[in-house]
Amino acid sequence: MQDQATRRPEPLLVVDGLKTHIETRNGVVKAVDGISFSVHQGEIVGLVGESGCGKTMTSLSIMGLVPAPSGRIVAGSIRFAGKELVGLGEREMRAIRGRDISMMLQDPLTSLNPVFTIGNQVAESFIFHRRKGEAPRSIKDKVVEVLQRVRIASPERFFSSYPHQFSGGMRQRVSAAIAIAPQPKLMIADEPMTALDVTTQAQFLQLLRQLRSETDLSIIYITHDLGVVARLCSRVIVMYAGHIVESGAVGAIYKSPAHPYTRGLMNSVPRLGASRGRLFQIEGQAPHLQNMPPGCPFHPRCREAQDICRQELPPMTDIAADGHRAACWFPQKTPLNPVS
């Protein structure tokens, strides 16, 4: 197992054909409907899409926290460091959750418990995840150390403070501290910057990059902000309505997005230096995941849609040799021209 994880070709996380469905009063919601991707050691992958496209459910599936009993992983596999996570018992899953895979949530104000001190909440990551053979050191020292690692000045002072006494940026650093405290191999960050202002965002991105390079941490960064992905990630996965529609290196995808949906996303980002003009907007609404149209999930909003798009789900196909793949019957080959 150990040597599987370190051998370079085998990625740290392999998600294969994952389908997570949620039963509701009026039908099954196919929140995640057959997605496959992988994350390598030390890699930062951006997971992009509109709200409700299945990004969060994907991360909950990996964490083994799909809301039971309505939600269920119905097919596929999630292999982490060579170990299959789908179907793992709660006890074994808990040993991995929070220790090998950790997660940061959107809003640090609501995700930190208001009635416990910062020190207490960071310490929990250690208390419930003592590694065997680890030098026994006082928990407090460890907490202080990890607070230092997320660049919180004078952590001793903040140790016994409460979340409401911190600023938004500081709180998000604390969440980061909680996430990296057990020295995980993979961290899932679910839109962690929504609640931060622009300056703080820049500092926080810097922090994530530093953490990655210091510890060889892999990060799945979930967001709908393509600008952040461009600055942080090496690879990007675009999701739409429970499916992956395009994936590949950030450079390739930003230069010539193949899927009409990705192109739409790119066009809706205002760019500095681009000529003034109307900001592009994707027409229509994301489909309701309960009554998905047959064929390509994007076809009702796609200008290029043909008959086949309405009938058959396009498979992921290689666009270029560098791992750029897209699920579209008529992938665009031309580079995106911002001045169009």
């Binding site: 959750r97 949530l105 930190l112 416990f116 929990e124």
Partner: protein, 306 residues
């Protein structure tokens, strides 16, 4: 925080003044005050003496001030029934009432703190269903009836527990259960819904994501937050417990303040009625203040508020 305490104390004082006005006016309304202050066989010169002594020949607002001035020194007059100062009569019976109310509150809290979170953690499970049936039954049964049924079952039929009086712990069991019953039902209900809300929050999600075992998720992260609304309820419930103690003490012949007030009303022993009412309001107001303070201890956001 200090401002908060100050504000609450101010309100409490207002409440006590309110009670005193009601008590004062009520007793005046009920007819010749001097009749209540004197034994039934008193003569005319006694009346005149008492009228003057108690300032009954003064205007009403002066009488009230007079009454308050005496009340704050603990002078409510003499109980003609007990031939003791009314305040002493009430103070003597205070420990019994406090013991009963505290035992009832404890029972209620213990039930709420175990059943509430458990039913919230697994909505629809058997413990949740039992808890809900119990809660709705608790709200529908008069406390005095529960008391009577307990007496019939445990004192008359099974002969396990004594049916009246105050003595050792066995005397306390039935009164405390009948008194705590309603409070337990209401608290359990509130604890369940508060817990359901809390368990839905992001910090609970994060705690689970951290790999915190479910037991700690519920009892450490959940309980402390869910306890806040329950605590407020407990403050309000002191009123219900004290109110209930009036009835329960009567049933179980528990020598407390409540029973003494009821007896005093029937004996027209108005000095004791006023003293007892005053005492009850004091306890009540004190309990509410304690809850406010506890709130500060449990919730750091309030503790640090300006």
């Amino acid at each position: 925080m200090y401002q908060l305490i100050l504000r609450r104390t101010g309100r409490s004082l207002l409440a006590i003044i309110g009670v005193s006005i009601v008590a004062f006016i009520a007793v005046r309304m009920s007819g010749d005050m001097e009749r209540f202050l004197l034994p039934p066989d008193a003569g005319a010169e006694d009346f005149a003496r008492v009228r003057h002594e108690y300032g009954l020949d003064q205007p009403l607002y002066l009488q009230y001030l007079f009454f308050i001035a005496k009340a704050v020194t603990g002078d409510f007059g003499t109980s003609w029934r007990w031939h003791d100062p009314a305040w002493t009569v009430v103070v003597d019976r205070l420990p019994a009432t406090l013991q009963l109310a505290a035992a009832a509150a404890l029972i209620a809290f213990l039930i709420a703190i175990t059943v509430g979170p458990l039913s919230a953690a697994r909505p629809g499970s058997w413990i949740d269903r039992i808890g809900r049936v119990f809660a709705i039954l608790g709200q529908s049964m008069p406390a005095f009836w529960v008391g009577l049924m307990l007496i019939r079952i445990f004192a008359v039929d099974l002969r396990w527990l004594p049916s009246y009086g105050r003595g050792d712990l066995s005397n306390l069991v039935m009164p405390a259960i009948s008194l705590g019953w309603y409070a337990a039902a209401a608290q359990t209900r509130l604890m369940r819904s508060a817990m359901l809300n809390v368990l839905d929050s992001e910090y609970i999600k994060l705690a689970r994501l951290k790999g915190v075992p479910e037991f700690y998720v519920i009892y450490k992260h959940g309980l402390r937050n869910a306890a806040l609304p329950v605590l407020t309820l407990m403050g309000v419930q002191w009123a219900a417990l004290l109110s209930g103690s009036v009835v329960i003490e009567t049933i179980f012949a528990w020598p407390g303040v409540g029973r003494t007030i009821v007896e005093a009303i029937f004996n027209r022993d108005y000095a004791v009625v006023q003293a007892g009412t005053f005492m009850m309001s004091l306890i009540f107001v004190g309990a509410n203040l304690t809850v406010d303070l506890l709130y500060g201890v449990l919730d750091p956001r309030i503790r640090n508020a300006r």
